[in-house]
Symmetry: none
Subunit: 340 residues, 2 copies
């Protein structure tokens, strides 16, 4: 049934809105019957005429009876409505979860894709696609987009497509080296995104293990400074969220920092910051680029993470995330988050 709805969503986009409308009408009639056209229209927030067209249709389908005292559900109408009850719960399920999550985490927007990234690899692609689409909505005029690394972000990059009109887009890594694997490193993602979106990009290679002097002189390089100032002026930030321990292990994290992370009970990680369950910063990787406090400056912040296993991490980070953050996640994570 899910797949049928998915296909229909694609092939007949206004299908669902019409179904919803007719469902509402039937529901209201059931509860207000016998009811007249005008009062029903007011209750449903429909104009009299549109309601009338719908009513004519429902009458043709023999789902309602129309008499001089008003409209009432027919027997068949009752049966159909009963079946619809269950269908709409399924159809609206995701929307409801989005609303609930948005309220619970007090975010700007929540987008949920069906499935579980932990179990089905393609769900991650769906996350990526959803994120890519959401990003595009922000692309009006000139934009500097700061992105982080991670496998989910890599999927996002993969799913980007050039926009009809080539906008003025510049991709930059959100922060300097975090010790990540080259493959899903922010720099890699940045270049991939730019390639896919047919846009510009700048990368930032910060030497990892060098003397303090070398580092400082490196930071004075004009080209580096230019990139950093670009990053600081980014108006869109797109980042993943990771499990704290998993991220720490994946990165070349020293034993003393590891101790801080474990003893601080860190559970979530986002762009180099480690958070405990209360959303407190337990540790931050010192590097250049966007800092947690800078996020409020950005016009839009999009966080992408999915899979049941990531629920805790998402919750921890969202405690301190900017209120306008857009969270893109999957069904499994959303369910887990809503569980409490």
């Amino acid at each position: 049934m899910r797949s049928l709805l998915d296909v229909q969503r694609r092939l007949l986009p206004d299908f669902l809105t019409v179904m919803q409308k007719r469902y509402d009408i039937l529901r209201y009639i059931k509860n207000m019957q016998p009811v007249g056209r005008r009062s029903l229209a007011i209750s449903l927030n429909l104009t009299e005429r549109t309601l009338r067209s719908e009513v004519d249709f429902l009458k043709d389908q023999k789902l309602i009876h129309v008499s001089s005292s008003g409209m009432l559900l027919s027997e068949e109408g009752e049966i159909i409505l009963e079946k619809l009850e269950g269908i709409m719960r399924e159809v609206m399920g995701i929307d409801l979860m989005e609303q609930d999550l948005k309220r619970q985490l007090s975010l700007g927007e929540v987008i949920i894709v069906t499935g579980d990234s932990d179990q089905s690899p393609w769900v991650k692609s769906e996350l990526g696609k959803a994120c890519a689409n959401r990003m595009k909505q922000e692309w009006t005029g000139k934009n500097i987009i700061a992105v982080t690394g991670g496998s989910t972000m890599a999927e996002v990059a993969e799913m980007l497509t050039p926009d009809h009109e080539s906008k003025d887009l510049m991709f930059v890594p959100a922060r300097g080296g975090l010790g990540e694997d080259v493959h899903n490193q922010a720099n890699m993602i940045v270049s991939k995104m730019a390639e896919k979106a047919n846009a510009f990009y700048k990368v930032l290679y910060i030497p990892d293990q060098v003397s303090k002097e070398a580092y400082l002189s490196f930071m004075k390089e004009p080209t580096i400074k230019e990139v950093i100032s670009l990053i600081k002026s980014a108006n869109i930030v797109v980042h993943g969220i990771g499990d704290a321990l998993a991220m720490a292990q994946r990165r070349k994290t020293g034993p003393e920092v590891m101790k801080v992370i474990t003893e601080g009970n860190a559970v979530g990680e986002a762009f180099g910051y480690y958070f405990n369950e209360n959303g407190d910063v337990v540790h931050k990787v010192k590097t250049v680029g966007i800092q947690l406090a800078d996020l409020d400056q950005a016009r839009s912040v999009i966080a992408v993470a999915g899979g049941k296993s990531k629920a805790k991490a998402i919750r921890s980070y969202m405690k301190t995330a900017p209120a306008s953050t857009v969270l893109i996640t999957d069904e499994a994570a959303a369910k887990e988050l809503l569980k409490g």
Copy 2:
């Protein structure tokens, strides 16, 4: 899914017709790509303008790509179409038709593919694919498979693929020479099938116009006798069904036999037997190999034929076909058959 569709049929009837239309468009594009708007419109029996609106929609949904050389299915389009395949079977009631037809003709199984072989050439390929799949289900252990000729059987051969484990398969022609064109002759099909399925085969070349003595001595050849005994021990028979007159004309049928066929009101033909509307044998081509009575010995008999024009032929043959016969046909023929 069943109940969801039932509800939708009632609540949004015209959405289903739209879905059907878009399904058809996608299907035609898949099989004709790259294809232009005008020729597609003709094939689909749509006016250019309506097709254009639909195409614009599908393009917006990224289900098709449009280039100067024509339209083609996008990757997503392929995925959606695949899912639609199953959905539309349900919507169009193909599954129901299969059950009805099975009962009406009292057969072992009926498989219907969508479309009309007479109108869309690729439907024949679909028939072939369906048949190939069905055949594979029978391939457990050692099998001798007797096949007939014909263009539909040629498609079946084309669609065969080697099985994961190479089974012990032997293809043989079902009967001796029937006077067919070399191209779609049983021997040709046999070798093609064996090649595609990575199996063994034996052909049977019977001299057509020779003296009785030559013929008899030929039949005493050990190699020929061996092939004939193989044929007789076939446990799977796959054959086409043809229109009686068309088949008789295609084969080098003499005028006196032609008279028998026409005066006997033959309508159907299968492996050299001609049947009238009551299923009586009007004429049989005398040749070696499997006879009508032998069919009951075979573990499984699969008959393949499609196209509205073949409906009468199918019905006539099915009157005498073994009760366990598997019929593989297309939507158009099935509709015609069910019409009565």
